[in-house]
């Protein structure tokens, strides 16, 4: 018994990969069991908690009639458009903000203030200005991610060791080369980590945007289902969003590993 505790409960100790994978999958069992117990056992009414098979059956039905795909595609395109626009602006601006004091001085006060405005509270204004539909949802995603990305990336840029930049000067680089050949590559791991984190936030803003004003998308699907107490559809929507978030997260993680093999392990796990 003592050696079991030693083997698995010593801080920071490595465990065999097989054991790690088994533990990660096995944890699903008690969750399914609890869920099943609560539903099939009649403890909770189906209006509040759908049975596992109900969610699967509904999922299969909505897949077959194309509605699930339609809503998923609508949400995914909003996320990717909004996130892409935000990133494309935030990355260069953030890098310059972090390394050029004049840019920081001009941009930071405004950004710092806007960053704290609750995006959800801005939605009525956005609906007024842009209407409901694709553009407005993209605007919500953009505002939700852009300002945070900017500050995080500025931080990454500012953290590039000044010795690294000084070294380049002593190797004969001029200012322009120092920025293109040293500063930018040095920020890549941090920028990738930032994009990975903020991608997760983008998904949370999506649901808010769609709950308020949409006629398609997964958030809309959830809201609609709520009206008819179709909790199985609600669960389905939540699960799909969760899966998509996880997928994009792992995708960025894999990209980082592939494109930046030289970078040390990420702080974002």
């Amino acid at each position: 018994m003592a050696s079991f505790v030693e083997a698995y409960f010593a801080p920071k100790k490595e465990i065999p990969r097989r054991v790690y994978l088994t533990a990660s999958t096995v944890i699903g069992v008690p969750i399914i069991v609890a869920w099943s117990g609560l539903t099939y056992g009649g403890v909770v009414r189906p209006e509040f908690l759908p049975a596992p098979h109900a969610v699967l059956v509904t999922g299969a039905e909505m897949l077959a009639d194309g509605s699930l795909l339609k809503h998923t595609w609508a949400s995914v395109s909003v996320i990717f458009t909004g996130f892409f626009l935000a990133s494309v602006l935030a990355v260069p601006l953030g890098i310059f903000m972090g390394s050029f004091k004049i840019v920081e001085a001009a941009v930071e006060p405004v950004v710092n203030f806007i960053r704290y405005l609750p995006v959800s509270a801005l939605i009525p204004l956005l609906i007024l200005w842009i209407g409901i539909g694709f553009e407005e949802k993209v605007a919500v995603i953009f505002i939700g991610t852009f300002f945070q990305q900017l500050m995080l990336i500025a931080d990454v840029s500012a953290s590039v060791s000044s010795d690294l930049l000084d070294t380049s000067y002593t190797l004969g680089a001029n200012r322009r080369k120092v920025v293109t050949k040293v500063l930018i590559p040095a920020t890549l791991p941090g920028v990738t980590d930032t994009l990975r984190i903020t991608m997760g936030w983008a998904w949370t803003y999506l649901v808010v945007a769609e709950l308020v004003a949409a006629n398609n998308g997964l958030g809309y699907m959830i809201l609609n289902a709520m009206r008819g107490l179709f909790t199985d559809v609600i669960f389905l929507g939540i699960l799909v969003i969760g899966l998509l978030g996880l997928l994009t997260d792992q995708l960025v993680k894999a990209l980082r590993h592939m494109l930046l093999p030289w970078a040390g392990s990420s702080n974002v796990s």
Partner: protein, 265 residues
Amino acid sequence: MAKLRIDNVLLRFGPKGDGGVTALEDISLDVEEGELSVIVGPSGCGKTSLLRLVAGLVQPTAGTIRLDGKLVTKPGKDRGMVFQSYTLFPWLTVQANVEFGPRIANMPARERREIARHFIQEVGLAGFERAYPKQLSGGMMQRVALARALANDPEILLMDEPFGALDSQTRSLMQELLLSIWEHSKKTVLFITHDIDEAIFLGDRVYVMTARPGRIKEGFEIGIPRPRSVEVLTSPEFMEMKRRVMRLIHEEAIKALPEGVDTAS
């Protein structure tokens, strides 16, 4: 004419008058062509600042620094530098790191590949051309940094306590490596350190710096003949030099202590 001439340099930070800090004062010294000069001094005495002035990364408040007669106003490849911290570019392999300087200078690929390979071999890292910095130990990284600086063929090599972060065995090996490379490249080197043994072992001339504001307390020739091996470290001449330097440093280290701190002097 001396290769490097530092003339009456003053370095002050902060507001003029009483509020500012004088880092360096009255610094004048010459480094001859092919000479390995070492500046040794207590922590905080301004030796890194002095090196950064020579590198052109900082401008003096007063005084001039001339390399081959030309005034130093900004950094350039004629003054190569090896820093104390690890400054290899992590996204480049060892080979690409060493090629960096020549690449910026638009040297053709074949030529710079050859030069890089030569210096990688000089520092004893043949076979590691394709490795990334994250796969290297501290000592290996500093060797690559040295190769990278040398591959750019600088007029003078500036070294800021480059072996400070290494364990004493590695440091000792690196010192011997530096000497052997220096012996046949005949580069002019300005090296700074707080390690007295290192200073005497490496230097043709040693300059002892005072505590802040940094001044040159004394400069003298190390008469020990070359080539020097580790045997030298325990020879009577070495001990004599060391005694002399230690006395000078100790005086200055005491001055750098805050008021009221007692020492067994």
